[in-house]
Symmetry: C2
Subunit: 103 residues, 2 copies
DNA sequence: TGAATAATGAACAAGCGTGATCTGATCGAT
DNA sequence: ATCGATCAGATCACGCTTGTTCATTATTCA
């Protein structure tokens, strides 16, 4: 599924494809900007987008076999939430219901 | 940043907080459903949400220290895209602009 | 109010990084 | 809405590194 299909699927809920496109872009860009700013986006039930700062480490260039030093690189990290994982495991049928407590 | 802040930030772009709430929920739920269905959501520039099926493996219970067998668990996997990583690294200033080709 | 998230701890296993290329995706034009 | 051009993404490889998972409790989010 690509972005077009995603927008098309959402347009069925928002009613308009143009609005869906704007909505998707707004959400994605907002998350990107927030994570880039260092603020982690914690969404209960979905997951957490956070900026993971990785220190320099020793990697290797498989083409040459030479060990190279990789500088600090901040990469976006996503940790799926409980509902998301449960949904993928097939334990639930619909998201955002949160009414099933298996404890 | 929580979901409230995210919605608030998006409402500044869509103009309405209610629309922003619907948009965020629609996007997130759609992604969850798609990933749960096995279809990976590939969005160029942002990342790829896909369903990673991990086979059973041996884990440990930190409370008791006993090794236990974990059954197959399908967890959602997110792989950040090039633009997202570049943005987090501070190489770019704004997402979805795609006008900066450094190549 | 109710429920989800964060942190801890240790061992196992997979990932990562560079880099070119092909395919797929995305954006714009008609 | 569809077609076309352009660009991002995946792959493969080797050796070291990091991540990940389990469970419990308090706090904070919805």
């Amino acid at each position: 599924m690509n972005k077009r299909d995603l927008i098309d699927a959402i347009s069925g809920r928002l009613g308009d494809k143009k609005s869906a496109t704007e909505a998707v872009n707004a959400v994605l860009e907002t998350i990107q900007t927030a994570v880039a700013s260092g603020d982690k986006v914690a969404i209960t039930g979905f997951g957490v987008f956070e900026k993971a700062e990785r220190p320099a480490r020793t990697a290797r260039n498989p083409a040459t076999g030479a060990t190279i030093q990789v500088p600090e690189s901040s990469v976006p990290k996503f940790r799926p939430g409980a509902d998301f994982k449960a949904l993928v495991n097939g334990e639930k049928g619909a998201p955002a219901k949160a009414g099933s407590r298996k404890k």
